[in-house]
Amino acid sequence: MSQDQILNPKSLPNSPEKATLEGKNKFLGLWFFLGGETVLFASLFGSFVALRNSTAGGPSSEELFGLELVFLMTVMLLTSSLTSVYAMYHMKNHDFKKMQLWLGITGLLGIGFLGLEIYEFTHYITEYGFTFRSSAFGSAFYSLVGFHGGHVTFGIVWLIAIMVRNARRGLNLYNAPKFNTFSLYWHYIDVVWVFVFTVVYLMGKVG
């Protein structure tokens, strides 16, 4: 493939994200990373399930959690997963502007999710005095949910970085794998959230 083809978006190959060796390596590397993330989150989930009834006289999960807010957060994160699929759809059709637009929407939904999570945490701390140090349940809760929130924060920073960095470059074989890698990571954040809302909030409400 000549340099000309790399730089001319009209002649990009079908799947620009996996057309180069670097793209293939990034793809495998990210999946390797996600396998490790699975184990990391599993240890946080394991500690949470083991410690969730150790409230030390503080508020229990039934008293704390409100399902309305969690439902709203879930819908926002799930929708942001779909919008990043739309972004990758436009990438495969070599439409850089539409890809940036959908990535932007993904980022905004992510920021909305993060805002709600910060609101939720401050609500627990100010209204209930439920902090990281108040009980084993508190430590396990803030470690697990906070770690997920940290992943969302990192994802947003990553997204803004690649969007700004490549804004005037357009789509090419150099940056297509970068966008694809981000979108896989973002989907994985949603995978973790599915278990967070199931294990932490819904099971917490059931008892």
């Binding site: 009209k10 002649s11 990009l12 190959p13 079908n14 996996k18 057309a19 793809f27 495998l28 999946w31 390797f32 996600l34 396998g35 490790g36 993330e37 699975t38 184990v39 989150f41 599993a42 240890s43 989930f45 394991g46 500690s47 399930v49 083991a50 410690l51 399902l67 969690v70 439902f71 879930t74 819908v75 799930l78 997963s81 779909l82 699929v85 739309y86 759809y89 495969k92 059709n93 070599h94 896989l184 989907h187 994985y188 949603d190 995978v191 599915v194 278990f195 809302f197 199931t198 819904l202 099971m203 409400k205 059931v206 008892g207």
Partner: protein, 108 residues
């Protein structure tokens, strides 16, 4: 554009159509994921089910939703995903042992 039509890895109408169909399947999986989320929240909010059965159902819904995420949104159903499958299956196995170990260590 004319000089591009004779290379075989160009974006053709065929590929555009294929991408469109793939997108349609993804929107359907999104709808399924939203539905399973709504069922999960409804089960807990209404409180109609007994505890053990509710938790069992919540887990089935979570696994189903995650399967849609992996196979459709993250394309694991497509060819060339043997290594990703190895990574995630190995990760899930280690995750199972980790959670099981932690929970067993505290409960017994």
């Amino acid at each position: 554009m004319t000089e591009n039509t004779n290379t075989n890895n160009q974006l053709t109408d065929f590929h555009r159509q294929k991408n469109k169909e793939e997108m349609k399947r993804n929107v359907i999986s999104f709808a399924m994921m939203i539905v399973s989320t709504i069922i999960a929240f409804a089960v807990v909010a209404s409180g109609v089910m007994d505890r053990v059965f509710a938790i069992f159902l919540l887990f089935i819904l979570a696994v189903a939703q995650v399967a849609f995420q992996f196979f459709y949104f993250m394309h694991m159903k497509e060819k060339g995903h043997a290594m990703p499958a190895v990574m995630i299956v190995a990760g899930t196995w280690a995750a199972f042992l980790t959670t099981f170990g932690l929970i067993a260590a505290v409960w017994w």
